[in-house]
């Protein structure tokens, strides 16, 4: 494989999946890596995450630390959850349904955890 699309469809922090997916994306940087936020995964795009008091890793820090990873958020999922006009992590690119699906189809593999 030369390219991987990691699809995150569950909310961050409530489960280990977002953390696990970002870690897998980080070690995959030798390939072209896209992280696609879809369904409840788009909550990861919210700005201002501060997880110190909860005692868990800050997931937005991981996104900032690895600019090699392209992070896309599925716009219809954001809109449905009332996030479209919220402050979001700048580094995350909002893409419409068509482009989001296109990016999946043009990656060589898709991984959901």
């Amino acid at each position: 494989m030369r390219s991987i699309f990691y699809l995150l469809d569950v909310a961050p922090y409530g489960s280990e999946k977002a953390f696990g997916l970002l870690n897998a994306a980080v070690v995959s940087i030798g390939m072209k890596v896209i992280v696609g936020l879809y369904a409840d995964g788009v909550y990861l795009a919210l700005a201002g995450q501060e997880s110190r008091a909860l005692g868990v890793p800050n997931l937005s820090d991981i996104i900032y630390a690895y600019p090699e990873i392209e992070v896309l958020a599925h716009e219809p999922s954001l809109v449905e959850r009332g996030l479209f006009n919220r402050e979001l992590i700048e580094r995350i690119e909002l893409v419409d349904e068509e482009l989001f699906l296109e990016e999946i189809l043009t990656s060589e593999s898709i991984v959901l955890l």
Partner: protein
């Protein structure tokens, strides 16, 4: 506000305590909020991914319900609570105090 003050405005009625830990699009959040809307005296406690219900309009339909949210969970997720929720550091102490009170009930989703 602590658990004791919480009781002062309870008018001696029993309460249905709803603990919601799921985001708004989940089937569990939906049935939880429908039950809370049916209850005559619901209080909603949001923890974990349940705090995402403060974004969007899922809980706006909840009439006169009092809503509490766990501060650490809000902060971690970058959720601004808005005007309807009261956030607490001692969220679990208040939740447990309230759910264990005589006559009260707890529904967990």
């Amino acid at each position: 506000m602590n658990g004791g003050e919480l009781l002062d405005d309870s008018e001696n009625t029993t309460r249905d305590v709803f603990l919601l830990t799921k985001p708004p699009k989940s089937d569990r959040a939906k049935i939880c909020l429908r039950l809370a809307a049916l209850s005559k005296n619901a209080i909603l406690y949001l923890a974990g991914d349940g705090v995402y219900n403060l974004l969007g309009d899922a809980i706006e339909a909840l009439p006169s319900a009092r809503i509490f949210a766990c501060k650490e969970d809000l902060e971690a997720r970058g959720v601004q609570p808005g005007r309807i929720a009261e956030t607490h550091c001692d969220f679990y102490d208040i939740l447990v105090e309230e759910m264990m009170l005589d006559g009260n009930r707890i529904y967990t989703f």
